[in-house]
Symmetry: C2
Subunit: 382 residues, 2 copies
Amino acid sequence: VAEKRYLMTPGPTPAPPEVLAAVGQPVIHHRGPDFRQLYAEALGRLREVFRTEQEVLLFGGSGSGAMESAVANLCSAGDPVLVVSAGYFGERWAAIASTYGVELDHLRYTWGEIPSADDVAARLREREARAVLFTHSETSTGVVVDPQPFASVAREAGALSVVDAVSSLGAVPLETDAWGLGVVASGAQKALMTPPGLAMLTASPAAWQRSVSAASPRYYWDWERTRKGQSTLDAPVTPPVNLVAGLNVALRMLLDEGLEAAYDRHRRLGRACREGLKAMGLELSSPDDDSSAVVTAARAPEGIDSGELVLLLRDRHGVTLAPGQGELKGKIFRIGHIGYYDVFDITTALAAVELALVELGAEVERGVAVTRALEAFEQTPV
Amino acid sequence: VAEKRYLMTPGPTPAPPEVLAAVGQPVIHHRGPDFRQLYAEALGRLREVFRTEQEVLLFGGSGSGAMESAVANLCSAGDPVLVVSAGYFGERWAAIASTYGVELDHLRYTWGEIPSADDVAARLREREARAVLFTHSETSTGVVVDPQPFASVAREAGALSVVDAVSSLGAVPLETDAWGLGVVASGAQKALMTPPGLAMLTASPAAWQRSVSAASPRYYWDWERTRKGQSTLDAPVTPPVNLVAGLNVALRMLLDEGLEAAYDRHRRLGRACREGLKAMGLELSSPDDDSSAVVTAARAPEGIDSGELVLLLRDRHGVTLAPGQGELKGKIFRIGHIGYYDVFDITTALAAVELALVELGAEVERGVAVTRALEAFEQTPV
């Protein structure tokens, strides 16, 4: 039985020791000067990471809470809403929107397909929508779309674009203001390298305006109450102070590295992971290009259940990868490379996959994955 | 400037070092066996602390989230609801219920008054209600009511009793099943000695039945989704795994002490605090009896602003007490004695108050508070 643990899922992701140390500090009062200072710092740093001049609202909760916050503050029952889905988290948008009684139009792709802004534009010509809910990085499949054209076609149709950026924020480029995104929802437990329990959201002036007339009930996830509290650094409810302290450290580390450098690192990690998997003879199920910089998915070899592979890796070798979800259960496994990762995490994951596949009787080429991954990581980015 | 910090507010409260150590451990995956085991343990221990055979639902978020969860899962817009308030957190019930568009009947006492079940019964005879929302321990005033007669009069009138037990759970007696409470909402950052970020709720079979027909939209705070996830230890959203690890340790400590012993300790801490404050000549604003075992409130001496006293204590002496909220701002200060507290925390608080009052020019009798507090703590409980 493995003693040492390697967390290599696409979320939660490993937190740096500095972040864990901050999270484990004694509890401080949320209305005192010690907390106010780090609250102000964290909120300021979030604006930098979201690339926005707007307030970033910070909630205790998971990324799904931020997604619900978007729906609750933008929609009234009966509002026409378009959901674009091509995987597990796209389906979540549909589930949340349905709960709020919207008139749901669902542009549903097969899991793993890459949604297209042209399809969205065509759909919006057929049927009006107040908001278009879509996924930046679909964690269940490894597909990352460029949000910009989606935002454009939504805007042209008079709809707000609402982006699930939970697993993408801080890992791949996202320009809230420059791309005219309506709402961006995210969480801290992915590329923001913080233990789970914090959700965040930013809204454009147009989205704020729309929220005034949205009739859905909301208290905890309400934008205006949260903004009002944040404006005087007086949180509207008791925030998870220890997690905010951790987030503040993690954001400082991310901004010290630089967002562009972090994006570049994630791109290169994705490339290393893909090249390593292919070198040992596996077939990718996530896109084989630099867009796929968050999570890499591969098919298990013929005759091997990917769930069994993931269990073996975890129980015998201490390496936690992610299995396939929903339609992809048993077929694929996923390696997350988000946040506090470097190339040696990729080589560890690849070495462990190689070892476990051999144990399961698969024919894989030995010894090439790690070397190929290191080479691919070092190549100049495109 | 003080270097050492003493957190003596009625929430968040200090977490034991063992709990902080658990919170600062490396992040683990929420669908793996390490987390499932501690999730199962924590959920089982919560049932013991709530004294219920029902499932305790565990959410990432604050206690207000659990309160909103109660309203969203029990009420449809237009439902008649009675809110009983006598302070800041009673007002929060009214704010949340209003948001959900209920037909609100508000039995509103002056802050610091002690609500009576007879008043509630009379009100329910005048006007029907589907649910009665009230506060077990009103943290803003130090008043703790006995929930049992409130539950009885609600039940007799065909209404569900819904209790805010955020600051009371684990500090003073609360028997969810034996008292027939409809819904109990709480948080982990008070007597459960865990850094903030976890909310919990339990519902009676009658409340579960009512939730089926409640039409308010809810996703994150939805009971059925959460119960379904918990039933297979597969959380419906990514839970704050590090905080759950801390909660699990804290609950073990609380249950090792024993709930009755913890209730007794809180009663004696309350008594010690009251006797010490009175000994130095201060007037209590919370009730001067053993019901008041969670937070003790006292008036600042004539001519002294209680907010100024709290600031001086914090900035010069490192001791964080709580000021008055709302109507009581500037008039009272509050000493929390919830959770990880013993009598030397009380004597520290009293010694610091004595010192700061002298610095502010008040006439207080020196040197008697600490001795009187120790005596009162040792006296056999009534």
